[in-house]
Structures are given as structure tokens and as C-alpha cells.
């Protein structure tokens, strides 16, 4: 079984992303909201259960039951059949993983987690545009996934059309860890009207937002804000990134 899983566990190809200008929902500096994103690379698909099984097999300290409580809470991989066997759906996205475990996986691949800006920069792209954030139909499609309950298993990765960069599954499969998942909430970045509790309640989160109509982005940020590094929820996976290749 493990051999079979390992056989399937070919790492996702990295897709090169050309850097550019990007407007975060909560710019660190409201005076200069547009942020530069340097060129980088990102996995075409989220990390699968088979891929993660291969990782924990190679690095037993990341297996359920062996991982330090400091790095993953009790629900870590708890639905797996055994500590090394997900028990089916090898091509489904791995979930129930902590931020620490996701980072360790990427490091083992010689990669890293994408930053929030990198992840969101790529996630703006539809199948036909690099920046579809003003496309209401596209926003509506994304929103419909967020609005569905998460009790069903997520679909396998890599199905359906990639976005214009060639990246799959940023919307409609699982939430994904980013390196700086809670910087919006906890960063002491001098944001105007800045308050640690901002975003955590009511309309206060809209005060300094750059696009109050992008509900999907609000939901992603709210979701990330609710996390701690040890959390392992059933609808949260990840993909890896790497720095840009110098031309």
C-alpha cells in the first residue's frame, strides 16, 4: 500500500509566476496600497494525501501520534486509516495538517509556503484573465464554494481548468495555509484605525479594506485570522512555493 502511494506521490510541478503590482485587501501601508510581488514559483496543485503519506513515511516524527503537541493539535490527520495511510482518495488534497507540518513538508521538498500576497496574487486570475477581481460572475462562482457546507470530501486535485497562470484549485477545493496566515490580524503594522480586534467582529473589518465587494477575499482573511499554527481543520490544506528563478 505504501509503495502504491509512493508511486502516486509525484510532486506537483512548480509554475513560474511573473511578479507585478498587487493591491492587498489590507495594505500594510495605506499611503502606498499597491504592493510589489517579486517573481516566484508555486505548485500547480495542492499537496495530495498520497504525497503527504510519503512525507510522513519518510519523516516519522510528522506522523500522527509522534508529532509534538507544540506543532499539531489532536485532530492532526485524525481521519487517516493509520499514521501513514490516508485510507483512500490518494489524489484528494491533504487536510487536517498544521502550519508547522505544512512548512516541514515544503522544506523537505526544497520549497516553502507561499506568502499571503503571493497566494492572493495568483488567486486573482481566472481562466482568461490575470486579474479577474472585477468580474462579478467569477467572484460569484468562488463565493458559491464558500457558501457550501464542508461535510463532503473535497474533490481530487487538478480537475477542471487551470487559471491563466496554469495553477489549479485555488478556489473550490480546500482552504490553504500561507506562510504569514495571521499577519493581517496580529501584525503591528501601523494600519490606520489599526486594532488587534479588527476583522474579528462586525463591520470594523471593512474600515480599511481596499475592496469591500470581494467577499471571497474577506472570507479567506477571516478564515486565516481564526487559525493558530497548530490548528488542523478538515477543510484546510496547502501547496508549496519557491523563489523565482533568475532569468
Amino acid at each position: 500500500m505504501i509503495a502504491l502511494l509512493l508511486g502516486l506521490a509525484a510532486a506537483a510541478p512548480l509554475v513560474p509566476i511573473e511578479g507585478g503590482k498587487y493591491l492587498p485587501l489590507y495594505p500594510p501601508d495605506p499611503e502606498q496600497p499597491v504592493t510589489d510581488v517579486a517573481s516566484f514559483q508555486i505548485d500547480a496543485t495542492p499537496v495530495t494525501r498520497a504525497e503527504f503519506a510519503a512525507f510522513v513515511t519518510a519523516q516519522p516524527k510528522w506522523q500522527r501520534g509522534q508529532v509534538a503537541a507544540l506543532f499539531a493539535e489532536r485532530a492532526y490527520l485524525s481521519s487517516w486509516a493509520t499514521p501513514t495511510d490516508p485510507g483512500g482518495r490518494p489524489n484528494g488534497p491533504v487536510t487536517e495538517v498544521s502550519w508547522f507540518a505544512a512548512r516541514a513538508y515544503c522544506a523537505a521538498e526544497g520549497k516553502r509556503l507561499p506568502t499571503e500576497d503571493e497566494w492572493e496574487y495568483v488567486a486573482r486570475a481566472s481562466e482568461t484573465s490575470y486579474d479577474a477581481t472585477q468580474d462579478d460572475a467569477w467572484l460569484g462562482q468562488i463565493l458559491s464554494w464558500y457558501a457550501k457546507p464542508g461535510s463532503d470530501d473535497p474533490p481530487n486535485v487538478g480537475q477542471g481548468m487551470p487559471n491563466l497562470w496554469g495553477v489549479h484549485d485555488q478556489h473550490g477545493v480546500v482552504w490553504e495555509w500561507v506562510e504569514d496566515f495571521n499577519n493581517t490580524l496580529f501584525g503591528t503594522d501601523g494600519r490606520e484605525g489599526g486594532d488587534e480586534d479588527e476583522l474579528r467582529f462586525c463591520g470594523s473589518g471593512t474600515l480599511s479594506a481596499t475592496d469591500v465587494r470581494d467577499y471571497a477575499r474577506f472570507m479567506r482573511i477571516a478564515f486565516r485570522s481564526s487559525l493558530q499554527g497548530t490548528y488542523t481543520t478538515a477543510q484546510l490544506g496547502f501547496r508549496c512555493a519557491a523563489d523565482g528563478v533568475t532569468p
Partner: protein, 497 residues
Amino acid sequence: MSRYFFTPLLALALGCGAPAPTALAPTEAPTTGGSKAGDFGPPVGEPIQAELTNAPNVPAPTNRTAPAKVVVELEVVEKVMPISEGVDYTFWTFGGEVPGKFIRIRQGDTVEFHLQNHPDNKMPHNIDLHAVTGPGGGAASSFTAPGHASQFSFKALNAGLYVYHCATAPVGMHIANGMYGLILVEPPEGLPKVDREYYVMQGDFYTVGKYREKGLQPFDMQKAIEENATYVLFNGSEGALVGDNAITAEVGETVRLYVGNGGPNLVSSFHVIGEIFDKVYTEGGTFAQENVQTTLVPAGGATMLEFYVEAPGTYILVDHSIFRAFNKGALGMLKVDGDDALDIYSGKEVDSVYLADKAASSAPIAEASAAAAAGSLTKAQQIEAGKALFAGTCSTCHQADGTGVKGVFPPLAGSDYLMADGKRSIGIVLNGLSGPVKVNGEDYNSVMPPMSQLNDDEVANILTYVTNSWGNEGAAISASDVAGVRATSKAPAGAAH
């Protein structure tokens, strides 16, 4: 011990401590003292697990006389449920239904609140209870990822009926998906006892498909921003308070409704058709307004209202922004059982043709009436008055020319049945007639209602007219003839319907 310590203890033991209104100057309005007077000290006794109920039910009164520690455990569940027949929607719920569970505590209680976010949920959630004194109303302290639980505590310093809701960004969407409910903070002496209490909460919903378009309908952000609701509902679905799900009461009972409005956008003009609210604790506050027809319930607000029910039947709950009731679902029912109270409400007594200016002149009726009073009434005057009355009351069925409708409404013109027995005819006008009769050889089996709205003069004039028209020839019928029959026959109970 000094007086300092003794006084509050005594107050506690007596179960008072709150709104014993202080002696007031005549111009001063009564006051409870607000939150300043709402802290009755630390919780007394063992912690109590709060009884939580789904709408339309309300937990029993706390019946406590001292502040307690109350443990509330509320689980957030995201689930698909019907919003209308054949239409599903993904609701985000406090406790598995919309509206969320009703929480009932007493002023001065310390609430230990546990918010649990089910592991299958996709969203982080939190709760802002309007009954909380403190920044965010609990929202920041209860912000919880899926598969986690948060705990915070608050002391309920103000009595009243309060909305709670999720306040996670984007907050409008969390509320639009059903994340709201009510928490009642009883005043220390409790609320006046009533016979029935119900929980009704309005909310507006925004779906991509049109009203009642079948299938699983996703949330429509644009419609929500435009405040263009697809559904406006009581208790989260179109059937929640109608038919078998209607709330009920008996004649002679006092009903209290706890009415909330989760919004997210619309203000409710809450009204119960056919009832007048004897009391409305406007906006869920302490002092009641009396004798109110329609009360405004703000989005994110609530009201308590009470009414005594005198007459049986079905009372319709609506948002009197009335297109919402007829075209968006804002409709519920209160079914009241019990004996008729016809003196309070008769039901329909008369359904007559209204001819406006086409009607026969009523002058002959007035003339006959004056003549009768003067004792000079002639048969001709009776016939003229009877003709005018007949046109208004009788001609709908028996037709203007007295020929009736064959097989349905018996003829009066040339009618053997009519002319055979004058007293019987008087009795039929007074008391109605149902069951089989044979008229001019034809069988009839229908119902004539009693004409209980006519007085003796009017019945006499009508019958004089019909027994002396269209070929009929009879004697004049006098008011005293009618009075005689009226005295010896009795209208069946409820026949006025």
C-alpha cells in the same frame, strides 16, 4: 459587621436588588437604573446548564431570586435545509436551526459562554450578543476556527430582549445565512406570567434564483448589497409557522411573542392580522406601550408583545411591508381554538349586492318607515319599500324578477311554496332554510342564510312585495306578524355565519 456589608446581602436574600424604582419626583419618569443597578454580586450556588430551545419554543422562566452562573453551549452548524418547498439553501446556524437557540437568563447572571464550531464547517465564526456589556459583545473573544471551541464569560447587566448574531467578516453574509437568535435577560422579578410564549424571528434572504425557484440556491452577494431580498421569512423557512407548524392558543389566554429581527437589511413592520397588541415592550425594553396595531422591529433588534385572545380562528402574522408577506414569504399563523365569541366578532353577516347609484332609491323605505311610525302605512307603501329592500338583499339569488335559478335558487314568482304558508315564509326569512324543498314541482336542496340583519318592518315590507308581485297576489304582511313569528322561533346557533 458594618452596615456596608449587611445591606447588599439582605437585598440578595430578598431577591430584589433591582428595579425597585426609587422615590421619584412627580416629573421624573420611572427607571430601572440601567446597567449601574444591574450587578447583583457574584453568582450564587452551583452553575446551571442553560435550557436552550428551537423556535417557536421558549425556555421556561428562570424563576430565580439570586444571580447564578449559567453555562451556555452553542454549536455552530453549516447545513443545507429547505428555505421553501423544493428550494434548499445552505444555512449557517447557531444550534442547527434558523433562528438560533433561544437563551433565557436573569439580569445579574454570569454567563459562561461556549461557542463550538463543528469540525465539518468550512467557516470561522463568532458571536456578538447584544446583551453583553463589553467591546465587540463577545465577538473577538469567541472567534473560532472550524473544529474548535471558544469560551468567554459576561455578566448580564441590563434586562431586556436581545439579538445575538455572528460577526465574522463578511458579517452581512454570515447574518444573511441565518446566524442570529434571541437572548432574553429577565428582570430580577421575572416577566408577568402569561399562558403562552413563542419565539418568532424575521430574516431576509438573498438567492441567485428567483423566489421559489427550485433546487439548491446559492447566496447572491449583489442582491444582498442592493438589499433586494428574495425571501423575507419568519423562523428561517417559508413553512415554519403555517399549517401544522402554526403556533396555537386557546380563547381566553394571553399570548406573549418574543419577536426578533436578524436582518441583515430589512426593518420589520410586525403585525398580527385581527389582533391588537395589548402591550408592546418596544425594542425589547422595560416599559410597555399599550394598544398597538403594528410595531417596528429593527434589524438587529427585538420586541416583546402580548395580547389576550377573545375570538377563535386563525390569526396571520405578517411583516406589514406587505409585499414581503405575499411575495417573499413573511407570513405565519396563530391558530386559536375555543368557543365562538359572536358578540366580539360575528363573522360575515351579510354578503349583499352593492349597486351604488344603480340601486333602487331608498326613499320608499324611509317613507314606509315614517308611515309605519305614524300608523298610516298602506300596502302600496309597503310594496314600494319592499321592492327597494328586495333589490339589495334578495335579488342576488332569487333574481330581480323573482324567477330564481332553476335547480339552485327557488323561484318566488308564481311560487306555490311561498304562497302556501305566510307564517312559514316569515320564518324562512328570519331563520333561513336548508334542506330539500319542492317548489312548483321542482326539487331544491340548498341553503338560505337567516336574514338576521333585517328588522320586523323590513321583513314585512319585503314579504308584502314578493307576495304581491310577478303574478303573486296576497295580503299585506305586518310587522306584528313578523314579530309574532320571531318570538316563537329561534335562530340556530352560529347561523349568522
